[in-house]
Symmetry: C2
Subunit: 373 residues, 2 copies
């Protein structure tokens, strides 16, 4: 038996550590690139998932030059690492306009607005050169102007058009309802409905502007980008989670088990054969408290190491309870029998974005450290 | 009308910021000190809640010299800030023995064991001078030797006694079942049961050791420490959350609304009167995903600012949905009417330990910065 590279890497771990299977991430990226190419849309991946300049190099290596971020601070981090075309995909925070102005000296900055209150600083010239997207709510009810509120859409478009030195780039939505579905079929229905709503919103705005004024359409969420057949009327997609995927996406049918690209390597600190449970050093501060339903809430599950990278997913070995530092795993007999205190178990997370957010670096399974903001 | 100190502080905030009402924290500390004094027990507060050397100064200022931590890294942080008597209240992680040995040159270190596998490095002299506690499971089923498994308890006590250069300090439990109760009455039942189980475990171990060999009893969780009348047979308590409390503790009856000492100050980025909702920049990465049931999961609620510190809790203004950066607040009409985009709302968290864990500092409501690990 040859020594496994993955096991060698795991041997070096002493505390809960976020590990990434780079080959899986690369293959997830290739697949999404091919989809974007097939649709003929611009690909502006969301970097809130990985928050890593090193992971971002996978993207730049494949010719991607634009990205999406979820905070000004994240935008500044990526700008310092050479990313010069950033969309901040959260409604403009009026308290960060000065920081945004500073950022726009390093990168082309696009911002979102959904109210005239947010347009005021743009009209006052506080963000010269900014590209502005009107966020549209296609039924998710988080942020955005409702797709069927034509009056508000037109009013906002006119306000942006009237502001000096900023450009109305288009309309943007996040079809977050796709996450609340029961699977692929429903995801596709959400997608089709969103595209129809965006087409409607676009035509309403276009009819109130000079003929030929450009107005792009940007959409973005991993379930629809992973499952959709068509992207009619779309100019840009912004999925993010697809680079790692996670158990939530697996439940939605957006990915397969062999696409799951991150895990948290957790030392085993307790073993309780009489109740069939193993306790790892790896709790809510390492995995996040995100849960999925599996006859009760579960917070991740074991994934086996492969020779190079991650291996078989063990949905039959879920994390059934989670406190600040402890994760309790319901262990099938084969796992219980072979695991000793002091071993390391890999735990596949429910929501990889939130799991990545609480770590300060990644370890590749060939033991390279990847930096994070 | 005089200018409010709190509002002045909040005016300076541009991103989600963890704020602390120091007077409430001080008063929570005074009350717990008085309870510990009344019971005549040693008070070894758990610092995993605040993870702050500056907050820890409130404790040292009141004569506390010993604390509990939940990781070796946290122990090292507090040791560097002068705390020289630390219990690491998670079962010994065999992968951190070298780090623990280094830490024990700075502080008296106490560790937990619940298996002979964990005693092995102690027996091998890898942690000279360590004080060892046997963790007992009084029904919580996380870690620890079952209270009624006399054979395992005795075997473990003998193994520790046989190890050179380490001391068996006592038995320790976390009555975490208190968190799964419906309120004060049930918390007290869990407490009484735990104390009875600990007394039983102690007598079983004592009967197998030389007469007069000391064996202390350590218990610790905020609900029972806040609500219990008696602490019979207990030598040490280790509550942590009580310094800030939170909505979870409020639901259990462990505290009152005016004890809640932290909140996350969140800029308002969206306002949707037609659906009665406000969206703040403040999501799962700022509040944690911890939720409480209030006719559906909620992730926090608004708390009003007072002239100096936090004011009225608004359980009628809950965070009803939470994504990575966004929090959606169901806003009663008075809140909806007075709040504009660009304002700051304070959000009281569900589980303050997890909320504090994702921030890198605190801001007091008179605008002082408190450091965190």
């Amino acid at each position: 038996m040859t020594t496994s590279q993955t096991r060698e890497t795991l041997e070096r771990i002493s505390v809960p550590t976020l590990v990434v299977d780079v080959r899986r991430a690369e293959s997830n990226l290739e697949r999404m690139l091919a989809r974007a190419d097939g649709w003929g849309v611009r690909f502006r991946p969301h970097f809130k998932t990985h928050q890593s300049a090193d992971v971002a190099r996978l993207f730049s290596g494949r010719g991607i030059t634009a990205c999406t971020v979820s905070s000004v601070r994240m935008g500044s981090y990526f700008a310092k690492h050479g990313w010069d075309d950033l969309t901040i995909a959260v409604p403009l925070n009026l308290r960060e306009v000065a920081e945004l102005r500073a950022l726009s000296s390093l990168a082309r900055v696009s911002v979102l607005v959904d109210s005239s209150a947010a347009v005021a600083p743009l009209a006052a010239g506080e963000l010269p050169g900014a590209s502005v997207w009107i966020e549209v709510d296609c039924g998710y009810s988080r942020t955005g102007v409702r797709w069927d509120d034509g009056e508000a859409l037109v009013e906002l478009a006119r306000a942006v058009d009237a502001a000096d030195d900023v450009t109305l780039a288009g309309i943007l939505t996040h079809a977050g309802r796709s996450y609340a579905t029961s699977g692929a079929e429903e995801v596709l229905r959400v997608h089709e409905e969103s595209l129809a709503h965006m087409a409607h919103a676009k035509s309403v705005i276009a009819s109130a502007r000079p003929a030929g004024a450009p107005l792009e359409v940007s959409v973005g969420d991993t379930p629809t980008a992973s499952l959709a057949e068509m992207m009619d009327g779309v100019d840009e997609i912004r999925p993010g989670n697809f680079i790692f995927y996670d158990l939530m996406q697996l439940d939605l049918g957006s990915c397969s088990e062999s696409d799951l690209a991150v895990a948290v390597a957790c030392p085993v600190i307790g073993r309780y054969p009489e109740r069939g449970e193993i306790v790892v050093y790896g709790g809510a501060v390492h995995l996040s408290s995100a849960s999925r339903e599996d006859g009760g809430p579960t917070f991740g599950c074991v994934v086996e190491p492969a020779h190079e990278g991650l291996g078989e997913l063990r949905l039959d070995a879920p994390v059934v309870r989670l406190t600040q530092e402890h994760g309790v795993i319901r262990a099938p007999s084969d796992v219980m029998e072979r695991v000793s205190i002091g071993d390391v178990l890999l735990v596949s997370p429910v929501h990889s974005c939130l799991t990545a957010a609480v770590h300060d670096h990644y370890l590749t399974l060939d033991a390279r450290r990847l930096g994070k903001m």
